[in-house]
């Protein structure tokens, strides 16, 4: 054992209030486990946004379709990194696939993940891009030609019948994809919600709350990325699309807020054994991250802004003003959802299961459990997305514009 670690734990001692079981001083799931549900939430939410186009035929949000799929893929690729990095024995992680314990929610991770990546996301992206990749490969020269040929798995058929098949396949996969996305994130909620030892986590609502907060964070991030990337590539933001997507986001936030409110009221009304310590937890340890960041800034304030846009005509008339207000709301919502994950994961470990005291969490800066590494994990999907957008451009109109300018 490193003397460093002992010293760190010793430093925490004075900050412990009341009585905690002696093994409880160390918060076992740190910032990496906060990042994990945040990232998978974005995957699920982005996919749900994409399915609006394919399954529910919401034509206005078509410009977000491919971006949403690629965002989901970029984040999904990073999701297991935070989990594996956190393990005491990362090199044994394959054991989850070889000798999974069927009663363990966590053991199912590998299978849910593989299903979602292999059966849903990759296949959907492939069918959607197949024709384009063939066309690009015909027109291009050099390395990109080969990349597109390989990614298209050397298919060359662009006949009417083949394209009709692509479309049908896309529809079927999206229909399978929606419950899969629900499964992916609902299951992450279940990992926490099924722990009966921990009253902060143990709730049947947990998977549903996770799901709706996932939809909120996914939709919000895709809109945010669109509003940043599209103008950077020389396009003009389609406000009809953003308005429509923001409208969906608005309703998702309302449902998310209502669910969390129901959970809150239920706990207060039932007032079980743990209510006193949970009250102390919220008022002392989580006041800033829960009351201020998650509820006020992450939900109520953006809801206020979005309601104002819906109610007052002045906002609807000025695109620039609306863009600014949307942008602010999206950032606040992202912060709010990250705080939600923080409050669930870290909050759930800060009170003792003796219900008599609170411990504290001191995040490191460097190191594998540190802030820097976590920020790196959050930035990595954006880098992957940039590469994906380079190889698989999301907007044909920008390509044509670029080609016309080059000519």
């Amino acid at each position: 054992m490193t003397p460093d670690m002992v010293e760190k734990l010793r430093e925490l001692l004075p900050q412990v209030t009341g009585y905690i079981y002696p093994n409880e001083i160390e918060v076992h799931w740190g910032i990496l486990i906060v990042v994990y549900p945040y990232i998978t939430g974005i995957v699920a939410g982005a996919f749900i946004l994409a399915s609006l186009v394919k399954v529910f035929n919401v034509k206005e949000v078509q410009p977000l379709y491919r971006l949403a799929l690629l965002t989901a893929l970029a984040f999904l690729l990073v999701a297991p990194l935070s989990l594996v990095s956190h393990l005491g024995h990362p090199f044994r992680s394959y054991e989850i696939f070889l000798t999974p314990q069927t009663s363990s929610a966590m053991a199912m991770f590998g299978f849910v993940y593989a299903w979602y990546l292999m059966v849903v996301l990759l296949v959907e992206i492939w069918f959607d891009y197949r024709k384009d990749m063939i066309v690009w490969a015909r027109e291009e020269t050099g390395i990109m030609k080969h990349i597109h040929r390989i990614l298209a798995l050397f298919s060359t058929d662009t006949s009417e019948a083949a394209l009709r098949f692509d479309n049908r396949a896309l529809k079927v996969i999206t229909i399978i994809g929606i419950p899969s996305a629900f499964l992916l994130h609902g299951y992450v909620g279940f990992i926490f919600g099924s722990i009966k030892a921990n009253p902060w986590w143990s709730s049947v609502l947990m998977p549903i709350v996770f799901l709706f907060s996932a939809i909120v964070s996914g939709i919000a991030l895709v809109i945010l990325l669109y509003m940043v990337i599209y103008p950077l590539l020389g396009g003009k933001i389609d406000m009809k699309c953003v308005d429509k997507a923001m409208s969906f986001l608005f309703y998702a936030v309302i449902v998310d807020f209502s669910l969390e409110f129901v959970d809150f009221i239920h706990r207060i009304y039932q007032s079980e054994e743990e209510i006193k310590i949970l009250g102390e937890l919220v008022m002392n340890k989580l006041f800033f991250s829960l009351v201020i960041v998650q509820v006020l800034m992450g939900m109520l304030f953006p809801l206020g802004i979005l309601s104002a846009i819906k109610i007052f005509r002045q906002f609807r008339e000025s695109d620039e003003l609306r863009k600014l207000l949307y942008f602010v709301s999206l950032i606040l919502i992202q912060g709010g959802i990250f705080a939600t994950r923080w409050n669930v994961v870290i909050g759930g470990q800060m009170f003792s299961k003796s219900f008599r005291g609170l411990t504290t969490y001191k995040m490191e800066f460097g190191g594998i459990e540190g802030l820097l590494y976590a920020l790196g994990l959050l930035a990595l999907p954006v880098v992957i997305l940039a590469v994906l957008l380079k190889i698989l451009p999301a907007w044909k109109e920008l390509q044509r514009k670029g080609q016309a300018e080059a000519a």
């Binding site: 054992m1 490193t2 670690m5 002992v6 734990l9 001692l13 412990v16 009341g18 009585y19 905690i20 079981y21 002696p22 093994n23 409880e24 001083i25 160390e26 076992h28 799931w29 989990l83 956190h86 393990l87 005491g88 024995h89 044994r92 992680s93 054991e95 989850i96 000798t99 999974p100 314990q101 009663s103 363990s104 929610a105 966590m106 053991a107 991770f109 990992i191 099924s194 722990i195 009966k196 030892a197 921990n198 470990q349 003792s352 299961k353 003796s354 219900f355 008599r356 005291g357």
Partner: protein
């Protein structure tokens, strides 16, 4: 070059030696199977008499040295809590070991109605949440009712630590795997008592076979009113408490 006679001699002696070794191995194997069978008929249980405990913490120290538990006050397979019930207000609870753990301010003795010690350890639940959640089956229940951790396959995800309602598990800082009380399973299998039971000067801790009418546990259950911790969670602990207070969680 080897002639035929010496070749046959060598073959014969090889067969004789390997045959004898094989026989011995099989015999040892069947003896092992017999021992396992005998243990499988048992169901280990543990009794704690709260009013016999004097809070000397010898059990804690013995456990730490027997099982290579780090000495620092953040890692315990067993620990002892002191409860002080005041005239008014909340019970004051502290971990008595070494005085290094967080000590709450003791109220003046005048205001205390009663005070008692409660030794804590893994409850070896019949329905262990830790076993249920372990993703790789590294934590498992033995046939004789003890929950163990295989540190060769534990991946260190700490899900079991989160799932344990009793705070009985910790992540061993050297092995990076989950660790907890095993009832000193290595000693039980050699017909020795667990270290904590062995050193307890007041016999506040007893261990025995819950199936055997002649075991100390049967006597413990006959002589005492029995409580288990957090019975509402349906974990069915095999650590039984006598004379504890409703305050104990």
């Amino acid at each position: 070059m080897m002639d035929r006679r010496s070749f046959l001699k060598k073959i014969l002696s090889f067969l004789a030696v390997s045959g004898a070794a094989m026989g011995g191995f099989l015999k040892a194997g069947s003896a092992g199977a017999q021992a396992t069978e005998e243990h499988a008929r048992k169901l280990w249980g543990f009794g704690v008499s709260s009013d016999k405990c004097i809070g000397c913490a010898r059990c804690v120290i013995a456990c730490k040295s027997e099982n290579n538990v780090p000495k620092e006050p953040f890692f315990y397979r067993t620990w002892v809590e002191r409860y002080m019930i005041p005239m008014e207000g909340e019970a004051v609870v502290t971990n008595i070991h070494m005085g290094l753990a967080p000590e709450a301010e003791a109220p003046s003795t005048k205001g205390i109605l009663r005070s008692f010690f409660v030794p804590k350890l893994c409850n070896q639940c019949a329905h262990p949440p830790c076993v249920q959640v372990c993703p790789v089956g590294a934590t498992f229940s033995t046939d004789d009712g003890v929950v163990l951790v295989n540190d060769k396959t534990c991946i260190g995800c700490r899900y079991c630590i989160q799932a344990c309602p009793y705070g009985a598990r910790y992540l061993h800082p050297k092995t990076h795997t989950a660790d907890k009380c095993t009832f000193c399973y290595h000693r039980l299998n050699r017909d020795l008592l667990p270290a904590c039971v062995e050193v307890c000067p007041t016999q506040a801790r007893v261990i025995g076979d819950l199936h055997s009418p002649a075991s100390p546990m049967t006597r413990f259950k006959r002589m005492n009113k029995i409580f288990v911790l957090k019975s509402n969670l349906n974990t069915e602990p095999k650590v039984l408490y006598a004379h504890i207070d409703g305050e104990v969680r």
